[in-house]
């Protein structure tokens, strides 16, 4: 196993040991230097904190965007799969945001949703000027704007996943079903969807993981977690607790909670896949 040693050392030093430390420090009151042992009451204390639940609610609300972030790209993949003139160029364009940092996306998105931004100009152009909103100034509005930006940025990734899936579809099944008199919808539901199952699962996992762990920079740039705690998600709350308030123990605890959420998701996925294989 000599060959595996460098990887083992690197991953242990910067991921393995810190996650164990996080487990320990989550049970303490810690300012980064001195840690006072609190035990499980540290968690119980945090569960009584209304802001903690507010933050989880934000995560929950963001999850409402996940079906859109999956179904919309699935539709796009179907369009791309028609292979009309220029489809490869369109594919490249849709996937392009994958290369752009959240910092840049956030900065542009902020102007888009602003009072004088394109959103309001478009509303005005459609004669809906009376709706004129400053989404980022209200708690729910700002979260909505973050969710829309998130969905936009997932379009490329998820479209590519489904396009890959569609390349694996067995066309002869469709023709056989058509001979038997099945309509388009029936073919989609009973033949196409089951074949795409693996890809739907994968895009679901990627999208949920992104919603929980990839939006720090977007929120940092776009809203700073506000207004109030309007757009503070768990991952952002970790950063705030530790680096804005100096509660390193609380930050570590929130990190442990996030870790367990993601681990349950990952293990659930593995079990689901294993069940299918049998």
């Amino acid at each position: 196993m000599f060959f595996a040693t460098p990887a083992l050392i690197l991953v242990s030093a910067f991921l393995g040991i810190p996650i164990i430390q996080a487990g320990y420090f989550s049970l303490t009151e810690w300012n980064g230097i001195d840690a006072k042992w609190l035990g499980i009451s540290a968690y119980l204390q945090e569960f009584k904190n209304p802001i903690f639940w507010r933050v989880l609610e934000n995560n929950g609300l963001l999850l409402l965007g996940v079906p859109v972030a999956i179904l919309f790209p699935m539709g796009i993949a179907f369009l791309l799969n028609e292979k009309v003139a220029g489809w490869k160029i369109f594919r490249s364009i849709y996937f392009l945001p994958t290369a752009i940092s959240w910092v840049v996306i956030g900065m542009v998105s902020m102007r888009f949703f602003a009072q004088e931004g394109l959103l309001n100009e478009m509303l005005k152009a459609f004669g809906l000027g009376f709706i004129k909103t400053d989404l980022l100034s209200s708690e729910k509005g700002a979260l909505f704007a973050v969710a829309i930006t998130f969905i936009w940025s997932m379009v490329g990734t998820n479209s590519i996943i489904f396009l890959t899936g569609m390349a694996t579809l067995d066309q002869s099944l469709n023709e056989a079903a058509r001979m038997d008199g099945a309509g388009n919808f029936r073919i989609f539901r009973s033949i196409t969807l089951p074949q795409l199952n693996r890809f739907i699962q994968f895009s679901f996992i990627i999208t949920v993981i992104s919603a929980f762990t990839a939006l720090f920079s977007l929120i940092f740039v776009m809203t700073g977690g506000g207004p109030g705690f309007g757009t503070t998600t768990l991952e952002f709350f970790i950063f705030q607790s530790a680096f804005s308030r100096g509660n390193f123990g609380t930050g570590a605890m929130l990190g442990v909670i996030l870790f367990f959420m993601m681990a349950i998701l990952g293990i659930g996925q593995l079990l689901l896949m294993r069940k299918k294989d049998e």
């Binding site: 060959f3 030093a13 996650i19 290369a99 910092v103 970790i238």
Partner: protein
């Protein structure tokens, strides 16, 4: 071959795709258009100018930060390549009792969110004096990227026939020689995938750079920009010019290595 008839359906699909293309390209159009305006022009005065581009280079040490980004990327990617190719080879071709456990550990490490380890890792790095130069960020990026890279390399090396390796061993080559002379040259496509994925990941990252690079002189362009925007600089055209500069390298890499990026993304789906 599909014949290209201009049926109503084809035309509808084409128009829908054009609309979507506009939506996806909007940020670029906005950045380019805005960066060529002065502050007054952004707020309504007519015309365009290059004033904001001039200002950008006074506001942000652009060249220095591009260099910093390049160095951090190069450092992290080099470490990832060394450890991931070696570990992938060990898992795929030098199987022992410990292999399954090690592989499970690597897959498990992929599940650890950055935010879960960042606080202890930050305190550790500060105690080890790693926050003053590039090294703290380089090591954290390398550790974060290595599990998935190892996973990719493992599946790639598994595709190389065992016979090939065994024949070479019988011929008297040692494992390190087989690794360097046979396995690595065959793995070039996978190596390129790892480089492209990690380059975009590290180049675009804010959080690790923000915390693990304390000295502003070592900041990457993405972190420099993030800090500027969080400082509520109101000169939006300057910010947009900066955004454009920071985005260009990653976009160029994307345009050249699109296929490798897609391969990397879909590698996780499994068979």
């Amino acid at each position: 071959m599909r014949s290209r008839k201009y049926s109503p359906k084809t035309v509808t699909v084409f128009i829908a795709m054009c609309v979507l293309a506009v939506v996806m390209l909007y940020p670029f159009a906005f950045m380019i258009n805005t960066s060529f305006k002065s502050k007054a022009q952004y707020f309504g005065a007519p015309g365009h100018s290059t004033a904001s581009w001039g200002k950008l280079f006074d506001t942000l040490p652009v060249w220095k930060q591009l260099l910093n980004s390049t160095l951090v990327c190069a450092g992290a990617i080099s470490i990832i390549l060394v450890v991931a190719t070696m570990a992938g080879f060990a898992i795929a071709k030098m199987r022992s009792k410990a292999t399954p456990i090690f592989f499970l550990g690597i897959v498990g490490a992929m599940l650890i969110p950055l935010q879960s380890i960042i606080i202890p890792a930050y305190i550790n790095a500060s105690k080890l004096n790693l926050l003053n130069g590039y090294w703290g960020a380089i090591f954290v990026y390398a550790a974060l990227g290595s599990p998935f890279a190892t996973f990719l390399m493992t599946s790639y090396f598994r595709g190389i026939p065992d016979d090939l390796v065994e024949a070479a061993i019988v011929d008297g080559l040692s494992y390190p020689k087989v690794f360097l002379k046979i396995a690595l040259p065959l793995a070039v496509p996978a190596i390129i995938t790892v480089i492209v994925l990690q380059f975009i990941q590290v180049w675009d990252d804010l959080l690790v750079g923000l915390l693990f690079i304390q000295d502003p002189a070592y900041r990457t362009i993405t972190v420099g920009l993030g800090a500027l925007s969080a400082g509520r600089v109101t000169d939006i055209p300057v910010l947009m010019a900066g955004s454009l500069v920071s985005a260009i390298p990653a976009v160029v890499v994307y345009l050249i290595f699109q296929r490798q990026l897609v391969n990397g993304l879909t590698a996780g789906i499994g068979k």
